[in-house]
């Protein structure tokens, strides 16, 4: 299945490996940051809603 890359195997595999790693890293970083911000926003919205409800009771 693996093509014969001859003398350039290290060059070709290095280039492809670095590229796939960089693209996967960018996607993973984006997803992790997005989830972190979404969670923090949900928590902040809940706190604000709670404070509003407490204010309305008082």
């Amino acid at each position: 299945m693996m093509p014969d890359l001859g003398d350039y195997a290290a060059t070709v595999l290095g280039a492809w490996g670095a590229t796939l790693l960089a693209l996967a890293g960018l996607l993973a970083l984006t997803l992790v940051q997005s989830r972190r911000v979404a969670r923090a926003l949900t928590e902040a919205e809940a706190r604000v809603a709670q404070a509003k409800a407490a204010g309305a009771k008082a």
Binding site: T11, V12, A18, T30, S34, V37, A44
Partner: protein, 231 residues
Amino acid sequence: MRLSRRVLPWIAALAGLSLGIGLIWGFFFTPDDYKQGSTVKILFIHVPAAMMAINAWIMMLVTSLIWVIRRHHVSALAARAAAPAGLVFTLIALVTGALWGQPMWNTWWEWDPRLTSFLILLLFYLGYIALWSAIEDPETAADLTGILCVVGSVFAVMSRYAVKFWNQGLHQDSTILKVGEKDPLDVAYYVPLVICLVGFVLFFILIVLLRTRMLIRARRLIALEARERLG
């Protein structure tokens, strides 16, 4: 936000599909070049990354201009969201270019017009990201990064057309659009390369959508926290 949430899974699926098909086809099912041997397989990652490095900056320029002219907040955030993707594409283009250049040109690096303008473009991406992080007021940051974007566009355009401006250096001119002309890209590489190009474009759109949504949420979060502090 509602529209982007609806299209995100489609973009992700199409990006995955086209990248999967294009990269597998390019790596496993294309022949070696009679001159370059198996290093020709670097074409399928180097060319799309280089094209997207330039196109990302052009997209940032357009959205920055929309911000400057119309004060549309989401366009400023979209420009900011595109920068890390552009930086990664530029890095990929430079690294894969160096790896490809070593066996073909016998050097990792040459102060050739296209290579040099790409290196300057990389520095502009780093400067752009740093400037956004350094300025606290989002409107001032959007204004100043917009100006930086206009200046950097010179190098984005130069990195595409440098080969045509200066008929010197090691880097060859593009052969993708030379069908029917002298020395075109062989048809065996053409179709998988086009699929890879589509995949990289869709991947870029996916990252920009995800990051823009994140930046909009982050801005809402800052506003909520400020309101909380004020009581």
